[in-house]
Symmetry: C2
Subunit: 213 residues, 2 copies
């Protein structure tokens, strides 16, 4: 059995995507806390040796390291034979949603949540820019899920775990989620999968719960 | 031989990524002009029937359609056996860069170029936000290319074609490219590949050259 070590921080939905997949696949793994909010990924040893992109998560095993949540999800799907689609068409459809997630769905929303929900700073024009783009991405996914249980159809895949990364955090972002009924039902469907755990049950938090610092 | 039809517009570097790959693989293909600047992707038939994500490019062949440039590049690499890497490690490394491209490299820069270079509008705070993030992404790739001809090493792959999508447009963006010598050398190396053509040689433009409207 591989000894998986996940460099992560609880507040990162990108880390949660991978932590959830490891958990649902039943792999033995341990979190390695990265002091993201203290600047650990911005330079120094982490950036030089562990992840040149300056991001979490990084998955370490057998003396090698993988970075980018979409890469790690794909690797684990190949390894486990689970949640990765069967045909080439399904694999390309998964990739389509993971790319959209990185470009527009997680991307704008995670930055918005960082500014509004965690840092509690940010220029109003930038917040407006991010809000409009997050709403547009939410609308597209909500519409796609109108007639589907999961992004590809009846069964969950790593595309769902990727897009669901930031769906379970409670901070205020200014987005009115009540407008996205299909998205909410889908999030709850994922949270009902046997073995699902909340990000903070899987990974250590980097911010003090009382002060957010 | 498949009859590839690429829904595209010349100003879109995301379309260029695919057009270049089709060209370098020697496939027969034709561009199908999408009036992106006239709003064709924002609703109506294109969004309902061709691309629910409201984006270009879309590749059409054999009665099916693929969307997201990274998906199309992966499909064409599988089909042609070219530019897609050989081992699982290489394929995952390609995916790593394509995800980073969608999240941070093309993403912020293309939006910046859209605002500053094409629309010539945009809130200064948003432009500052995008500029800082584009510069950070450029620095990461420039550093990675310090000791490599292409992103994976000696040979070009679809990861290069993805990140190079917006490197050949001339509009002002406020980014000082002289600070990125490795990135510039790499762009020129790609432009020197046999069969390379400029985006405007491959695809019809959507904006009037004289007025940008």
């Amino acid at each position: 059995m591989r000894d998986f070590r996940l460099y992560c921080v609880g507040e990162s939905g990108n880390c949660f995507k991978v932590a959830l997949m490891l958990e649902l696949c039943g792999y033995a793994w341990q979190p390695v806390f990265v002091d993201f909010f203290g600047g650990a990924t911005r330079g120094g040893q982490y950036r030089e040796e562990i992840n040149e992109l300056g991001e979490v998560p990084t998955l370490e095993f057998d003396g090698k390291r993988l970075t980018q949540s979409g890469v790690i999800l794909t690797y684990l799907a190949n390894l486990s034979g689970k949640y990765g689609g069967k045909t080439e068409d399904e694999k390309l459809e998964i990739l389509r949603w993971m790319l959209f997630d990185n470009h527009k769905f997680t991307s704008y929303y995670a930055t918005l949540r960082w500014m509004v929900g965690l840092q509690k700073t940010g220029d109003p024009a930038v917040i407006d820019f991010l809000t409009k783009r997050a709403l547009s991405a939410f609308s597209i996914v909500d519409k796609h899920l109108r007639a589907r249980a999961f992004l590809l159809g009846d069964e969950p895949t790593i595309a769902d775990f990727s897009l669901a990364g930031y769906q379970y955090y409670e901070e205020e972002t200014g987005i009115d989620r009540s407008a996205f009924a299909n998205l909410n039902a889908w999030s709850q469907r994922i949270a009902a999968l046997p073995g699902w755990k909340h990000p903070y049950e899987l990974m250590p938090r980097g911010l003090d719960v009382a002060t957010n610092k």
